[in-house]
Assembly symmetry: C2
Homo-oligomer: 348 residues x 2
Amino acid sequence: MILSSRRKRVTIKDVAQAAGVSTQTVSRVMNKFSYVSEKTRQRVETVVEQLGYNPSALARSLSQQRSYMLGVVTFGLKYIGPSRTIYGIADKADELGYMLLMKEIDNFNINSIDEVIDSLLARQVDGILWVAPEIGNNHAWVEEQRAKIIVPVLFLAMRPRSGISSVSTDNHHGGVMAVQHLLDCGRKKIGHISGPLNWWEADERKRGWRETLEKAGIGPSEQHCVEGNWSSASGEQAFIQLLETFPGMDAVFVANDQMSLGVLREAIRRGIRVPEQLAVIGFDNIPESAYFYPSLTTIYQDLQLLGEQAVQSIVEMIQARQENRSIAPQSRFLQPTLVVRESSGCVL
Amino acid sequence: MILSSRRKRVTIKDVAQAAGVSTQTVSRVMNKFSYVSEKTRQRVETVVEQLGYNPSALARSLSQQRSYMLGVVTFGLKYIGPSRTIYGIADKADELGYMLLMKEIDNFNINSIDEVIDSLLARQVDGILWVAPEIGNNHAWVEEQRAKIIVPVLFLAMRPRSGISSVSTDNHHGGVMAVQHLLDCGRKKIGHISGPLNWWEADERKRGWRETLEKAGIGPSEQHCVEGNWSSASGEQAFIQLLETFPGMDAVFVANDQMSLGVLREAIRRGIRVPEQLAVIGFDNIPESAYFYPSLTTIYQDLQLLGEQAVQSIVEMIQARQENRSIAPQSRFLQPTLVVRESSGCVL
DNA sequence: TCCTATTCTGTTATCGATAACATGTTATTA
DNA sequence: TAATAACATGTTATCGATAACAGAATAGGA
């Protein structure tokens, strides 16, 4: 026997006919809250059960001009960060009765962005979540194109712009916390291994590092920061370089946990004892970081929560629009938290 | 100004009217390959451009009974494994012109599974990819329910069943390769830290371990295997336990890289030198594993490729059905590969 | 020149639901 | 008891496209 024989879909008409009522009555039964006599209701429900009727959300979307689908545009799904966010999004969307229509993009040229948005709009999504990092001016299109986007859009991890809604982790404050922790532990010569500095998030973390040191009266030098690309390999390389340009370094703030792993590995290899000789603090708090050797002190950003909040917000925007209310666009920040473990060498 | 003013959608009628032709003609222009005079075509195209017409894929799906959407059911999206698979799926789907309608599930009771499938079918997906691990008998519903699923379905990482299509990594062979490598390196007393044994994949890896040792004339004992839950913490615990029940152990095959990390950490803490005293081999090849200390020898399963193959297969199934051809269900396996690094202590 | 094939375009029905309106039947109230 | 409200159901139009059919206009061939 072949799987999935081409059986025809059971439609509202079939049900109506079988129950001897009009399609409208069936529709009323399916959607509750309308006058239907108890007798009719039961008869229809029995037929629905028997035929296994499953209403076409597609047809419903068309006639109601509302799909209960959210368009989700992602970039870098293969990395753990985005996928944790997606998890939060999926979870909350489910809770609120929305499905996700996903589209991964692999570049940011204006044409492909246009295409992605068109394809989402063609499927009548009720709103769009933009889950792609801000790199260089890859969000420039927002200003020009947003007029044509006829549904609410919410950006994740984007530099705040007036008139546009976004939700982001407060990376700057995360950087501040990291460096402040190192200072509190008595370290003075604090280097930084940043992410790619054309990423807004990397830049913010670095700014947190610089400003905190300045505030502490320790003017950091550009020599004390080396740029990585988020990978463990780049972390290792950057660390090697930093050891040369900043020989007295007694602590390093690394912009993510993967790069921290590269640092720890190279430290062991060189016999640099962590945390005694060198304190290390990461960013993200990936699950593995608690089992690095030594375990990694890090800044925890709750990406799952970020996703949840994003869905919450956009659903509110959708509802507002549905009721013809207007809602003021806003940029929100989620605060990261400090997770102290062995690598920073002090429990405060 | 408020974002997303409630502008009305431009429809085929608007275009038809503006161009002074019938909607059918506009449809013909949009879909190419039909008789339209050059003059008309240009006129219509100009109007399309001017109005910014974007055909409703929703309406098209309804009338063509085909949506170019794939339903994707996931479980454990927050972990890196599934999300790598999703990446492969997203990439290939894009290439073949499909969008993804995603639904994450958090349990396997028959009701919620029913609901998920209904909601996908209600949106007219052309096929369904089941990206959820086989745990216990959580796939039992497949046998009973598949009759009601009127579109092709393909399972990832499922124990082969006759009459049902699936694509999986050959976990058994992965286990064989891992243990064989350790044997080749001269190890004789090989322990195993497994995943949760009600997971099909964990069970298969363990079977590879057991059978390979038996074949080598080394009857392994149940005492030489401890069950973990995939987490680094559980790996650490399992390792501690294994050290007691299997004192002479000179190598251990750990069922994933995260648990391996726990093992490596505890080994360092106890002064057990890896690989000299104890060889360690993991499974998965997560990006970080190359930067563990020591770097981890592991079995690489290409989850991204798995996702790509899955999409390729289901699209073939969909096309076959479209043309009323029948296609024999089949279970396919992808072969994992061995990645030799420091932790196994020998480059062959 | 007439006939047929090809090209071009429009009309009507359909996909599967809901919205809006209409109508008939009970119950309630003045 | 008649008027009105509440309840129950059906009819028609609509969402935005394509399929199927049909009628013209043009071109080519006998």
